[in-house]
C-alpha cells in the first residue's frame, strides 16, 4: 500500500526527515512513534501531498506522491494533529462541504454522511453547529471528514491528543472498527500502550530517522531480548543486589524500595540459577517473575531523547 524510499525533508538547515525508507502492507495499522520534533508530522504531510519532499520518493497504491497529488488526495484520508473546524456550519453541512470538495454527487453525499455520523456516533448532532461540539466530538467529526471519500489509506496524526480518557477509549474503539473494515492506517501517538494494542506494525523515529520498524513481535525481539526480570524482596535488598550484580554483570545495585526491574537476556536456566542462589543465601524473596518489554520500554531503549 505504501512505499517510501530515501525520503528527506529539509527546512533550511534543519533536517526534519532524514533518508527515511519504509514499507507498509495493505490492511495493516502502522504506528509511528517518536519524540516531538522527530519528523512524524512532516512525513505524514508529505504522504498527504501537503508538503513537497526535498529528496526521495513515496508511492501510495502504486501512485507516486509528488507527481500525482490529485490522485493521492483521493486515495488518502488525512487527519492533522491540530485542526480547526468551520464553526458557522452545522455538522451535516460540514461533512457535505468536504464530500462536495471530493466531487461526490449530491445523492451519494447524503447517504455517506448518514453512515459516517453513525460510525462516529454523532447522528444525534447532525443538525447541531460544529461550534457546539465537545473536543472529543470534534475529533470524531474530523475522523469522519477524513473518511468522507472512502480512502484506502488513513493518515492520522495524534488522533487522540487532548482527549479525556473516555473520549480516548471511544477513539480507540473507532480505529479498531476501521481496522476491521480493512483500511490501512498510519497513526502517530504519544500514548504508547494504546498504540501497541492497536497497531500491527510499529516504527520509531528520532531526529528524522527511522530507528527501528517492524511488527510488534519483531521489535520486542530486537531490543535486548525483549524480557525483563522483576524481583521484590521483603528484606536484605543489598545482599540480593550483590547477587544480581554478580550474575548479570550490573555496575550498580538495582534495588529501590526492595524492588528491582531489570532487562534480562538469559534463558530459563539462568533464571533458575539466580533464584536458587538467592533462596540459598536466605534472602526473603516475595516475588520473582519474568516480564516482556512493553512499547514504552522499547521506546526508551532505542531513542536517546534528542530533539532537533
Amino acid at each position: 500500500m505504501l512505499r517510501i524510499e530515501n525520503l528527506s525533508k529539509k527546512y533550511g538547515k534543519l533536517t526534519a526527515v532524514d533518508n527515511l525508507s519504509l514499507h507498509v502492507e495493505s490492511g495493516s495499522i502502522f504506528g509511528l512513534v517518536g519524540p516531538n520534533g522527530a519528523g512524524k508530522t512532516s512525513t505524514m504531510k508529505i504522504l498527504a501531498a501537503l508538503l513537497a519532499p526535498t529528496a526521495g520518493r513515496a508511492w501510495i497504491a502504486g501512485e507516486e506522491v509528488s507527481t500525482n497529488p490529485a490522485r493521492i488526495r483521493q486515495l488518502v484520508g488525512y487527519m492533522p494533529d491540530f485542526f480547526g473546524v468551520y464553526d458557522d456550519l452545522k455538522v451535516e453541512e460540514y461533512l457535505d462541504f468536504y464530500a462536495a470538495s471530493y466531487a461526490m454527487p449530491v445523492r451519494e453525499r447524503r447517504m455517506i454522511i448518514g453512515d459516517l455520523l453513525e460510525l462516529v456516533d454523532l447522528s444525534h448532532k447532525r443538525y447541531a453547529y460544529v461550534d457546539s461540539l465537545s473536543r472529543g466530538m470534534k475529533q470524531r467529526l474530523c475522523l469522519a471528514r477524513s473518511l468522507v471519500h472512502d480512502p484506502s489509506l488513513l493518515i492520522l496524526d495524534e488522533p487522540a491528543s487532548g482527549l479525556d480518557p473516555r473520549a480516548r477509549v471511544e477513539m480507540r474503539e473507532l480505529l479498531k472498527e476501521l481496522k476491521s473494515m480493512g483500511k490501512t492506517i498510519i497513526i502517530s501517538s504519544h500514548i504508547l500502550p494504546e498504540l501497541s494494542e492497536l497497531c500491527t506494525h510499529i516504527g520509531i523515529m528520532e531526529m528524522g530517522k527511522l530507528v527501528i520498524s517492524g511488527t510488534n513481535e519483531e521489535i520486542v525481539h530486537h531490543t535486548r531480548g525483549g524480557r525483563t526480570l522483576q524481583i521484590r524482596v521483603i528484606d536484605r535488598a543489598e545482599e540480593a543486589g550483590l547477587i544480581l550484580q554478580d550474575e548479570l554483570g550490573l555496575a550498580e545495585a538495582p534495588f529501590f524500595n526492595n524492588s528491582a526491574v531489570l532487562p534480562f537476556s538469559g534463558d530459563d536456566e539462568d533464571l533458575n540459577r539466580i533464584l536458587t542462589r538467592m533462596v540459598a543465601s536466605g534472602i526473603p524473596v516475595a516475588s520473582f517473575s519474568e516480564g516482556s518489554n512493553n512499547l514504552e520500554d522499547i521506546f526508551m531503549q532505542v531513542t536517546k531523547g534528542a530533539v532537533q
Binding site: P69, D88, A100
Partner: protein, 312 residues
C-alpha cells in the same frame, strides 16, 4: 431541470456570510452612509440655492458625489473581505484540510475571490435605488451609470486579487490586511503623487503618465457626463493635461486603459497566489526538476573528475 451546482467553496462562503446578523447589518450601514451622503448633499444645495426647487446641475452633481463615495467604499471594503480569505483558513487551521481535498489551488483561490466579490457586488447592487434618485433629477445617461458599475467591478476585482495574494503570502491576517490597504492606498493616492511629481519634472509633457491610469478614480472621472469629466481631472491635480494624449492608442478612454491595467494585475496576482498556495503543484515540481538536474550535473562532474584522475 438540471440542478445548479455551486463550487463547494463558493457555496460554503455564501452560506457562512449570509447566515449571521453581520451581513444585513453591514448592508444597512453601507446604504445608510450612501443615504446620508445623498441627502446631505441635496440639503446643502437647497440651503445655498437662491430659488426654490433644483437646477439642472443637481442631478449630475449628486451622481458624481455618490459615485466617488461609492468607489471609496468599494476600495475600503474589498481588502477587508479578501485579505483574510487564505490566511484566515491558515489561522483557523483549516487550510490543510481544504488543500488535501480534490479542490485545486486554482479552484480555491478563484472561488474565494468570487465569493468576496459577489458580496461586494451585492452591496453595489443594493445601492442602485440611490442612482434612480439621480435619474429622477436627470442629466445622466444609463450607459454612463453602466460604465461606473463596470469600474466598480474591475476595482473590486483588482483590489480583491491583491487581497487574496497578500492573504496567501502572509501567515497572519492582520499583516495581510495592512499590506493590502497600503497597496490600495498606493493605487488611490500614490499614483496621484507620482503623476504630480512627473508633471513638475517635465512641464512640457502634455498627457497623463501611464501609471495614472491604474488609479480607479481616473477611470471613474472619465465616465462622468460631459463637462464634469474634464472638471474633475482639473481638480485631480493634473491641470489641463489631455487624458490619453501620450498613449500609443489614444482613441481608448482612460477607463478602458484602466481596465487593461487592472486585467494584467488581476491575472498576475491570481497566478502568483495559486502558485504559492499549491504545496506540491506544478511549480513545486519545476523546482524539484531543477534540483534533480543540478544533482545529476554534480554527479556527472564527479564522474568526470574520477575518470580524469584514473584514465582507462
Amino acid at each position: 431541470m438540471k440542478r445548479l451546482v455551486l463550487n463547494p467553496v463558493l457555496d460554503k462562503e455564501f452560506r457562512s456570510r449570509m447566515r449571521t446578523w453581520k451581513s444585513p447589518l453591514l448592508i444597512s450601514l453601507y446604504l445608510g452612509v450612501l443615504a446620508l451622503i445623498t441627502l446631505g448633499y441635496y440639503w446643502t444645495q437647497q440651503q445655498s440655492a437662491f430659488y426654490a426647487g433644483f437646477g439642472p446641475e443637481v442631478g449630475p452633481q449628486i451622481y458624481v458625489t455618490l459615485t466617488i463615495f461609492q468607489l471609496m467604499l468599494v476600495s475600503f471594503v474589498t481588502p477587508a473581505f479578501t485579505a483574510g480569505v487564505i490566511s484566515g483558513e491558515r489561522e483557523r487551521q483549516t487550510l490543510d484540510l481544504l488543500i488535501c481535498t480534490r479542490l485545486s489551488a486554482t479552484s480555491i483561490i478563484l472561488n474565494k475571490l468570487l465569493a468576496s466579490i459577489a458580496y461586494i457586488l451585492l452591496l453595489i447592487i443594493s445601492s442602485l435605488p440611490f442612482f434612480s434618485v439621480v435619474y429622477f433629477f436627470g442629466g445622466v445617461l444609463l450607459s454612463e451609470i453602466g460604465q461606473v458599475f463596470l469600474v466598480y467591478l474591475m476595482t473590486s476585482l483588482t483590489f480583491g486579487a491583491i487581497g487574496v495574494f497578500c492573504s496567501t503570502v502572509f501567515r497572519k491576517t492582520q499583516v495581510s490586511v495592512v499590506v493590502t490597504y497600503v497597496i490600495v492606498f498606493f493605487f488611490l493616492a500614490g499614483t496621484v503623487v507620482i503623476t504630480a511629481f512627473l508633471a513638475s519634472v517635465s512641464p512640457n509633457f502634455s498627457g497623463l503618465p501611464l501609471i495614472a491610469y491604474l488609479n480607479p478614480v481616473v477611470a471613474l472621472f472619465s465616465t462622468f457626463p460631459g463637462s464634469f469629466s474634464q472638471e474633475m481631472f482639473m481638480s485631480f491635480g493634473v491641470g489641463g493635461r489631455v487624458v490619453g494624449a501620450n498613449t500609443p492608442a489614444s482613441n481608448l478612454l482612460p477607463w478602458q486603459y484602466n481596465f487593461i491595467g487592472d486585467g494584467i494585475i488581476i491575472v498576475l496576482f491570481l497566478i502568483l497566489a495559486i502558485i504559492l498556495l499549491d504545496p506540491v503543484g506544478r511549480f513545486s515540481r519545476l523546482k524539484q526538476l531543477f534540483r534533480r538536474k543540478r544533482k545529476v550535473q554534480v554527479e556527472i562532474d564527479d564522474e568526470e573528475i574520477k575518470s580524469e584522475a584514473h584514465p582507462g
